[in-house]
Symmetry: C2
Subunit: 236 residues, 2 copies
């Protein structure tokens, strides 16, 4: 199957969780908006196509199917890409973990946009400062402690019984959080040995390593989900 991924150009964003899965197995895909521009996305959002209507990118076209929502896309891709174990209970768990990754990603976004996505960061900086301080103290350790415990329960090396799209997403979380909140992560990392080792192992997977060194992997920047605003990180 040849896949077409639709996601905004210029940022890793939520699309990156899907890209990592496609890249890890060397799947045949094109990143449509990077070739045709963001306009390619609009014709799906306005509903002029048949089938499922996406609310927002990323969405994936697989044959005639249109599939939106990161966790839904990964759940769909897991079996054909061999990125999820066979058992139903492991698949349910994989998806549950991925949905918790999505929850964390939404909270990371709202650290720099607590008032509105439609406003600039500069227009909600005071609120962002307040939200990020509380979030780094309470939510970030809770999420990361949870995922660390998930890894421990599975034997330490993977979120599930074996390598899966969840491991790839946890890698992306660790790298993104390290970019956005380097000081907070430095504080928390001693308590996260399994997550740190997992992120290092994923980065060394042959196809992931090649992808990370390729121009297809965009750098993190202050338009994406993970943004480095030093005032939102731990103070020195």
């Amino acid at each position: 199957m040849h896949y077409q991924l639709y996601y905004w150009t210029g940022i890793q964003g939520r699309g990156e969780f899907v890209r990592l899965a496609l890249e890890d197995v060397g799947a045949s895909y094109e990143d449509v908006a990077r070739v045709e521009g963001d306009g390619a996305i609009a014709r799906f959002l306005d509903g002029s196509h048949e089938g499922a209507l996406p609310f927002a990118p990323p969405f994936l076209k697989a044959g005639r199917r249109v599939i939106a929502q990161v966790a839904n896309i990964l759940q769909y891709l897991g079996p054909p890409l061999d990125l999820v174990p066979d058992s139903e209970s492991q698949r349910l768990y994989a998806h549950q973990l991925q949905l918790t990754v999505s929850d964390l990603v939404a909270e990371v976004h709202d650290c720099h946009h607590p008032i509105a996505s439609s406003l600039y960061y500069a227009d909600q900086r005071t609120e962002a400062f307040r939200r990020a301080a509380n979030w780094r103290e309470h939510r970030l350790p809770r999420f990361l402690g949870y995922f660390e415990q998930v890894l421990e329960r599975a034997g330490g090396r993977h979120a599930l019984r074996e390598h899966s799209y969840v491991d790839l997403s946890l890698f992306q979380l660790m790298v993104g959080l390290g970019y956005a909140f380097p000081r907070a992560m430095q504080r928390l990392e001693p308590g996260l040995p399994c997550l740190r080792a997992l992120a290092a192992r994923v980065a060394e997977r042959p196809r992931i390593g090649a992808y990370l060194r390729s121009p297809r992997r965009l750098a993190f920047n202050e338009d994406g989900i993970f943004r480095h605003y030093p005032e939102l990180d731990d103070s020195r």
Copy 2:
């Protein structure tokens, strides 16, 4: 199958989306914390059980399985409760829609808690006022307009080809939003004929009607997701 639902007592909250599915088909289930207290939830969150580790309630116990995340639970329950069409593409779409319901629910929560869940509303009222004003103007119409379009594309009566758990969740959204933001909803409702008719039809389904009149259906209150703070609604 007999199901055990675990969710905080005292509020409808996220658990209500699962309850509505169980109630609509007259499934055999118990709402464990309402019998045993919220302590029943803690033993799953601390990981002293085997199997999948939930990050937060609601979670469902089905035999030995523990399944967390509302959309994941509904996806799991859909086939055995006959609350989702048979085709794979309709099931993917059902789940995608449910995930978009979850996104809306998270945004509703953050209207009254834009800074932190761990702080009282009174401690983030200024920020909540600012967030809710923007959200009612931009996000609420976008989400509801999206779901209205979804209904139109499917013929007007259902989100999918037939009745499903998604319709039940859209009912809950409409009722919850009507409680929390009565003036904003009054403004938007003329543009949402399919959603309004759907909510009215769901309320008249025999088992849903009986449930809504039963003591099992808690009233909305200012501890849940949908809260009525008049200052966060459209001004008169």
